[in-house]
């Protein structure tokens, strides 16, 4: 009877997916496909580690050199922390490979889950829920990979510079570029880590966007009919 009363009223079109639930579901999906998630995450990790290592490496190197030129002849002339062009190209290439890798992983993950997507839509999920779930999944991977990549990249840059400085902690850390480089640009080690994290997430989302939208657009029946 209650149902009948409800059915007489106009259809309320409120379907919800609280953000916390979406995060929980995405997290579960990643957990259950743990090794696949790890591989995708590794892709991002390497890309970001390379990016961070190149920028931070240059910044630290410039800082050390600036410090030395200052002490030697107090002329800080050759201290530009500019990244050599070939390295810029390498970084860009590695990031592109990174996006392609993520796209590929997400495409597979979407194709494999057509039926799941169709089922969710039958249960009342809106297109944007599906998009949200996939983007969340990939940005979680992106974030994890980017944080790890930033740490790895920074450590690598440090080691390289320490070696160049003859393992003298004092020379490297005396005027360590925590926040800005020698020119005062915000390319110190800390902001570069932050940049790395943001770029990693952005790459993950860019890579996943196409497959996610494609998945969401499928009519529920067709999505379920697909045999993979």
């Amino acid at each position: 009877m209650e149902q009948q009363a409800q059915s007489d009223s106009a259809i309320r079109s409120q379907i919800r997916l609280p953000f916390s639930e979406a995060v929980r579901i995405s997290f579960q999906s990643l957990k259950i496909r743990f090794w696949r998630s790890i591989i995708t995450t590794l892709g991002i990790l390497f890309g970001i580690a390379f990016l961070v290592a190149v920028i931070s490496g240059n910044t630290i190197e410039a800082a050390v050199q600036a410090d030395e030129t200052q002490t030697v002849d107090s002329l800080a002339q050759e201290a530009e922390p500019s990244i050599p062009p070939h390295q810029v190209w390498l970084v860009i290439m590695s990031l592109i490979v990174c996006v392609v890798g993520i796209s590929n992983a997400m495409l597979m993950s979407v194709t494999e889950r057509f039926r799941e997507i169709g089922t969710m839509k039958c249960l009342g999920a809106l297109d944007r829920f599906v998009v949200l779930l996939f983007l969340l999944e990939s940005s979680l991977q992106g974030l994890a990979g980017a944080i790890a990549g930033s740490i790895v990249g920074t450590l690598f840059a440090l080691l390289v510079n320490l070696r160049a400085a003859g393992w003298s902690l004092w020379r490297v850390f005396y005027q360590f570029p925590w926040f800005t480089d020698v020119n005062g640009a915000p390319l110190g080690v800390a902001p570069v880590i932050l940049i790395g994290c943001l770029v990693g997430m952005a790459l993950a989302v860019i890579g996943a966007a196409g497959p996610a939208f494609r998945a969401a657009k499928m009519p529920p029946v067709e999505a379920m009919r697909v045999e993979v």
Binding site: Q14, C122, P220
Partner: protein
């Protein structure tokens, strides 16, 4: 059961598909009313348009011509959001291949539609566990689909279909992937729910065991309703067919 209370009505429903340059008429003018509380079976060979009609009744697909009304609402005039709302709150779906989400436990599968409907976590857990015990899986709520047998998975799917107190439960070949005994159990469970919860059940099938419990059987052939039979008209045949597998 209010005899003339119509839940779904299809009027002159046509559905055409384009296969290359050819036009396939999957449905060719179907008229059918489904009453509240009845157990209706759609019977027909593969390719008869049975599944297509099933999808129309379930608000999963739109007819090329003709109208489908669910609770008096014309499906063609609803927005995507409203359709999703109907699927979430008015409909329960049961599929041949169970279609449980493998990343989730039985309880999480059952409560997923409740998340969409906006229930609180506490309400969801209570109702989810209650439904699982109704289908006889009260102690298995924490298991994942891979840890359950086919029959048990289908029970979880039935509990999920009932999550938001639907008006209609649509079962698409619910016994096709199960052995005869388990299939029989699932059919009995559906019938029980049909009687105890007064939920309308529409089932597309070619499982003759289904005839036994159906209030009406609609035979579909070549996209048309071939005949509609009430249960008392078919009871005689069932005795001889009940043991069959298909």
């Amino acid at each position: 059961m209010a005899a003339n209370d119509i839940v779904v009505s299809a009027i002159g429903v046509h559905k055409e598909y384009r296969m290359g340059s050819e036009v396939v008429h999957a449905l060719d003018g179907i008229d059918i009313d489904i009453y509240r509380g009845e157990y209706l079976s759609l019977m027909g060979p593969s390719g008869s348009g049975k599944s297509t009609l099933f999808n129309m009744i379930g608000a999963l697909d739109q007819p090329t011509k003709g109208d489908v009304f669910i609770e008096g609402e014309n499906m063609a005039q609803l927005t995507m959001e409203q359709l999703a709302w109907i699927r979430c709150n008015r409909m329960g779906y049961i599929f041949q291949s169970f279609n449980l989400l493998i990343v989730m436990t039985a309880l999480e599968n059952v409560t997923l539609p409740m998340i969409f409907a906006g229930l609180s976590p506490k309400q969801r857990e209570e109702r989810g566990k209650e439904l699982l015990s109704i289908v006889g899986l009260g102690d298995r709520w924490s298991h994942r689909p891979t840890e359950l047998s086919g029959g048990q998975q289908q029970r979880v799917a039935i509990a999920r279909a009932l999550a938001n107190d639907p008006d209609i439960v649509l079962a698409d070949e619910p016994t096709a992937n199960l052995d005869t005994k388990t299939g029989r159990e699932i059919i009995n469970l559906l019938k029980e729910l049909n009687e105890s919860q007064n939920v309308t059940i529409v089932s597309a099938t070619h499982d003759l065991k289904m005839l036994d419990v159906s209030d009406r059987v609609v035979y579909i052939r070549d996209g048309k309703v071939e005949q509609i039979r009430a249960r008392d008209e078919i009871d005689i045949h069932v005795g001889s067919l009940a043991g069959e597998h298909e």
